[in-house]
């Protein structure tokens, strides 16, 4: 057993991290939220150049055929920088969804892999709206009877995270009645979303620690006071113990283990709780400055709130974990 990221994983994370840091995501996020996609799409192409968009695409369709651990690493890093756009849908969900359908996979996945295509996927009831359907050229809805293309509503709904532009699914046209891998696609979405939440939480913690070192009150950095220290220590503890669940779920997904659904749900619960605790704590540590629209903290905080309920609520995933455990005992 080696339950640790490899040197290649770490190097991969470092390269994505460097790229996103250099690009400066806060400005990209603000533009994206205003419907100005140019800087975000440029960043998307940069991510494609280092292989992020090709990770889950099979080699025969121009991808890397990497395993879900690579996905977890990439999404945690993109979460750390609050990368906007339908990254979960395009990079994690679509390749899994189309895996059993060679024709559709051959039609769409090469474009996903090279970054020339962007996909959005709606999967009611947990993913009722299509994220960023206005920039996506592949718009799919997973239904009980197969796969449909759709036309999105003209204007997006207002998400708490302004950079999440959610569209209602309107005109629908069935394109495949063949079996899709909807369950596996959902699990990939859950894993990617959990990884994003963990990354968001880690960034919120790191920024809060920095702020607590700089900000002086009563003549000392606020980070020297136990009230602040203990809040941040609790966040660190939750994040540190959520990460192994994420990696464990990725290993399960990679091995197509019988426990996959249980494990990705457990990861989503833990990463959602930890990421959200990080968000609440970060705001408290920053105080009023964090509550302003001008400060970037809000971009991370609102995304943490949105993703906590995206790809299945905490209650749904807890129930799924418990159902799986009860089923294991019955068998």
């Amino acid at each position: 057993m080696r339950f640790a990221l490899s040197a290649q994983h770490i190097e991969f994370a470092r390269s994505i991290n460097g790229l996103l840091r250099e690009a400066g995501t806060p400005a990209v996020i603000r533009a994206w939220a205003a419907g100005e996609h140019a800087s975000g799409l440029a960043l998307w192409r940069r991510l494609a150049e280092v292989g992020v968009t090709a990770l889950a695409v099979p080699e025969q369709h121009g991808g890397l055929g990497a395993d879900p651990v690579d996905l977890a690493v990439a999404f945690e890093t993109m979460g750390y920088h609050a990368m906007p756009g339908p990254i979960v849908e395009s990079i994690a969900v679509l390749p899994a969804l189309l895996a059993p359908d060679d024709a559709l996979a051959g039609r769409w996945l090469p474009g996903i892999a090279d970054g020339s295509s962007i996909a959005t996927v709606a999967m009611a009831p947990h993913v009722p709206y299509a994220l960023d359907a206005d920039v996506a050229d592949i718009r799919l809805q997973v239904t009980d009877s197969g796969l449909a293309e759709f036309t999105p509503a003209a204007v997006p709904l207002d998400s708490v995270d302004a950079a999440r532009r959610l569209y209602e699914v309107m005109g629908r046209r069935a394109i495949s009645r063949r079996e899709t891998a909807a369950d596996a696609a959902f699990d990939h979405g859950v894993l990617a979303c959990a990884a994003q939440l963990l990354g968001l939480g880690q960034r919120l913690l790191d920024d809060s620690v920095e702020y607590a070192k700089q900000r002086n009150q009563y003549g000392n950095p606020i980070g020297s006071y136990q009230a602040i220290k203990h809040l941040l220590a609790d966040v660190a503890t939750q994040l540190e113990l959520a990460r192994p669940l994420l990696h464990g779920a990725a290993v399960a997904l990679a091995g197509d283990a019988a426990t996959t659904s249980r494990d990705v749900s457990a990861a989503k619960v833990a990463c959602g709780d930890a990421g959200y605790l990080a968000a609440r704590t970060a705001l408290q540590v920053h105080g009023a400055i964090g509550y302003t629209a001008e400060h970037d903290l809000g971009r991370w905080l609102t995304k943490a709130r949105a993703l906590r309920s995206a790809w299945g609520t905490p209650a749904f995933h807890r129930a799924r974990v418990l159902d799986a455990l009860m089923a294991e005992r019955a068998s």
Binding site: M1, S224, Q226, A233, P244, L245, V269, L322, R329
Partner: protein, 393 residues
Amino acid sequence: MDLDLDERTRQFRDEVASWLAANVPDKPMDSFDSAAGFAQHREWEAQLADARLSAVSWPEEFGGRDCSLLEWVIFEEEYYAAGAPLRVNQNGIFMLAPTLFSHGTPEQRRRILPKMARSEEVWAQAWSEPEAGSDIAALRSTATRTDGGWLLSGQKTWSSRAAFADKAFGLFRSDPDSDISPAAHPPRTPPKDRHRGMTYLMFDLHADGVRVRPIEQLDGEPGFAEIFLDNVFVPDADVIGEPGGGWRVAMTTANNERGLSLRSPGRFLAAADRLLELWRRDGDPADTALASRVADAWIGARAYQLYTFGTVTRLADGGELGPESSVNKLFWSRLDVELHETALDVLGAQGELRGEWLDGWLFSLSGPIYGGTDQIQRTTVAERLLGLPRGAR
């Protein structure tokens, strides 16, 4: 990255599981904090030792099996899954022994460890004092130089297992000038000086000058005790590390306690498993709030298991346990309380009756206190892991 056990580990796991299946007593033993239970648990430890299973991570020459950390974690999983008795000599096996491996002499290891492995000698810890709890460096008990050894005087308290144990280990102030407690000096002494002049010693609880006063705990059993020491002679051979260098030695023990060894994931996995069984039998599926807490208990136990696998991998690669041991303790101490609270709530009106779950809950309540309170651990995480500036305590 994988979670696969290699062939050797799988074989070891199977051997342990079948031995336990054949040997774990059907009827639960009395609490090891009662006289009768202590004797039962001592016998059980001898039986474990006969199978070379009482201290599997030790070298073979001392009764162990040279197990890797991973094998030890797997052993613990099997041990608790089998419902085997709690470890009466855990202070010795999991706290003192690692200290002896790091800082003891070959002679000390040869003399002490084989008897410890068979629980012919059961060990108590003697850290806290009435005025030195979280602030352990404020301890006042003294070790005074005498011919061939030291004379110990003072008072220790909250000493786990001391009511029935044979021996104890702890820190003593061997340089009177280093006593910087507020009564001795004005405060504001530089913190670094506080850790000088302490010596790590082992002593016999039945020696002349030792008086042990058992203290009843919340569960009514004397799980800890006060130890009064009045010029108790301890030979030089029972000093661990250098005289005056006891703080550094003690920190090894503390890291072992908080880190991997004191609470292995096996305990929580087994408890979560029993909780799932309780829920399956008695739970009301319509009570989704309680169902969520049952799910959280398992998720927490699984998180701790995987976190430990990560730690084991890191240590096998030559890493060290640092402030992560405080993260570790913060997590399991809270998990343990919440898991048992959940079980009591599933039991409903039956939950107030004495039994396995209630005893487990009472025990879990001590977790956030002993081995450094959760507040001390949070400060450690904040300063040493997150790098926040030191402040007033």
